[in-house]
């Protein structure tokens, strides 16, 4: 288990911290030290809303080591209202219930448990936005 690594990643894994170029306003997730668009290295922190929409998804039957309880779970490509995309697991959902276009929101969940030392890695996953929260999202949009 690489403890310093996950400590370093806490701002992106727990708060979806992105970056925005102060010169040209281009946004990036994961955050970058140099702007790909204008070359500026003056990038500032940008906190994402955590809302998104499923652009593509797949049900995974052959997971990586450490993710064996993820057999049959969903991995999704998610489009964020800030004009960014990321890939994350979906949670709190039955695979048959979700389609592309589904509105989702970020939650912090267990990503995996270290097999040898039992340490838990937490990070972002996304769950469907349902009921009142969905209506709230629709109103604000």
């Amino acid at each position: 288990m690489e403890l310093p690594r996950y400590h370093r990643l806490r701002s992106t894994f727990y708060r979806l911290q992105a970056s925005r170029c102060a010169a040209c306003q281009a946004t990036y997730f994961p955050p970058r030290p140099y702007c790909l668009h204008c070359g500026s290295r003056n990038l500032e922190e940008l906190r994402l809303s955590g809302r998104g929409r499923v652009l593509s998804l797949t049900r995974v039957y052959q997971p990586s080591r450490g993710f064996s309880d993820g057999v049959g779970t969903l991995t999704a490509l998610i489009e964020l209202p800030e004009g960014l995309r990321l890939i994350a697991q979906l949670t709190d959902v039955e695979p048959a219930e979700v389609e592309t276009g589904q509105e989702v929101e970020m939650v912090v969940r267990r990503l995996r448990t270290d097999e040898e030392q039992g340490l838990i890695v937490y990070g972002y996953k996304f769950r469907p936005v349902v009921g009142a929260r969905a209506a709230e999202g629709a109103n604000s949009a």
Binding site: Q62, S64, L77, I87
Partner: protein, 383 residues
């Protein structure tokens, strides 16, 4: 820069080599290529390998292979570019000879994958993705390609069945390749009934986990005929990269690295795509075949699958691909595959294609892709 030619090739069969180690395979392919060139000892050895550290607990691999191949002392380096490592080693060998740094250079691609259980291999392969923002979230390589395949199907209106010609053709070609892993045909029904790895990608959309090594010997073109009557010229050699992660790409369904490396190669030769007689492409998954055909400008955007359905990819078609079975059926020992493609292209251009010989071929292209199409290495060879 000097012109560079290939004067010898060697390969091991691809498969599950329970009785042979990483070093056994690497030495066999290296010595076979040297023997083909009539040589005992090269000036330098470049080893293309992706994950020997994770799969075999062996790094410093080039030193090991130089030592056990019988020539400790020479310059030997490992070259890594994910699944394109084998082709990247050929690229570095080409640069070494073209620059004048060395005269006789071996590039060997190698991978030994079957010592680990499948979850360990899946994790090791995922290291070619973005470790912090893809792999750490349980995103496997197959999952990345599955996300892309689903997008492609929805965008262009294809079904899973439409991808079958890539698999059927690869297996047909492998039947008559003695080095291939799967020397058996598959039917459209086999393809449709194949179990899912990550929807919509099935086992038969995917290239297999396996072991193998392939090697080529390079020298300056003006010396090539003193070693062989059938040298093959490296007309172009070009690498390009894209974003490491899939999600940040502006255009998800466009392989930018593959396009760039192919077009740098076209520019180096002055050749147009229609002048290429066959294409050893990177069919790690069926979706990769489709997008590779589009990136190298053999098919319009969204038409890569249609191109295969119209039978252009057969041995006698407009553009034969994967002529010895490709990654799908010859097998995909990841860091070795790029070198297998070059060996197979050389064999075609020498008229050594056996039952799979492409008639009257003079120009062959090989493109190896690493990561989620984040790096691509293209070679154009000719006689």
């Amino acid at each position: 820069m000097r012109d560079v030619s290939i004067i010898g090739v060697g390969q091991t069969p691809v498969g599950e080599h329970w009785a042979h180690s990483l070093r056994d395979l690497g030495v066999e392919a290296t010595r076979a290529a040297l023997a083909d060139a009539g040589l005992e000892r090269p000036d330098a050895l470049f080893v293309g390998n992706m994950v020997s550290g994770l799969l075999c607990q062996q790094e410093n691999l080039a030193t090991l292979l130089a030592d056990f191949s019988g020539f400790p002392g020479i310059e030997a380096l490992k070259i890594e570019a994910a699944c394109a490592s084998g082709a990247a080693a050929v690229r570095v060998a080409q640069l070494a000879v073209a620059s004048g740094a060395h005269d006789l250079v071996v590039a060997v691609g190698i991978e030994k994958m079957t010592d680990l259980a499948i979850d360990g291999v899946t994790s090791a392969l995922a290291t070619a993705a973005d470790a912090d923002y893809e792999a750490a979230h349980g995103v496997t390589f197959t999952a990345l390609n599955a996300l892309l395949m689903r997008l492609y199907m929805e965008r262009y209106g294809y079904t899973r069945a439409d991808f079958a010609p890539f698999v059927i053709t690869a297996h047909e070609n492998a039947v008559t390749n003695p080095y291939a892993m799967f020397r058996e045909t598959v039917t459209p029904e086999d393809f449709l009934n194949s179990p899912m790895v990550a929807e919509p990608i099935s086992i038969l959309d995917s290239s297999p986990v396996c072991d193998g090594a392939a090697a080529v010997v390079l020298c300056p073109s003006d010396r090539a005929r003193s070693f062989t009557e059938q040298p093959v010229k490296i007309l172009a050699s070009a690498t390009a990269t894209d974003t490491i992660g899939l999600a940040p790409r502006k255009d998800l369904l466009w392989f930018g690295a593959a396009y760039e490396s192919a077009h740098r190669a076209y520019r180096q030769t002055g050749l147009r795509p229609e002048e290429v007689d066959f294409f050893e492409l990177h069919d790690a998954f069926t979706i990769v075949s489709a997008l590779s055909l589009e990136a190298a400008c053999f098919a319009e955007r969204g038409q890569g699958v249609r191109f295969a359905q119209e039978c252009h990819i057969h041995r006698n078609g407009k553009l034969p691909i994967c002529t010895q079975g490709g990654l799908k059926a010859r097998g995909h020992p990841v860091g070795a595959s790029g070198a297998y493609q070059i060996v197979e292209a050389v064999n075609q251009l020498r008229g050594h294609g056996g039952p799979n010989q492409v008639a009257n071929c003079r120009v062959g292209m090989a493109q190896s892709i690493g990561g989620m199409a984040s790096v691509a290495v293209t070679h154009i060879l000719g006689v």
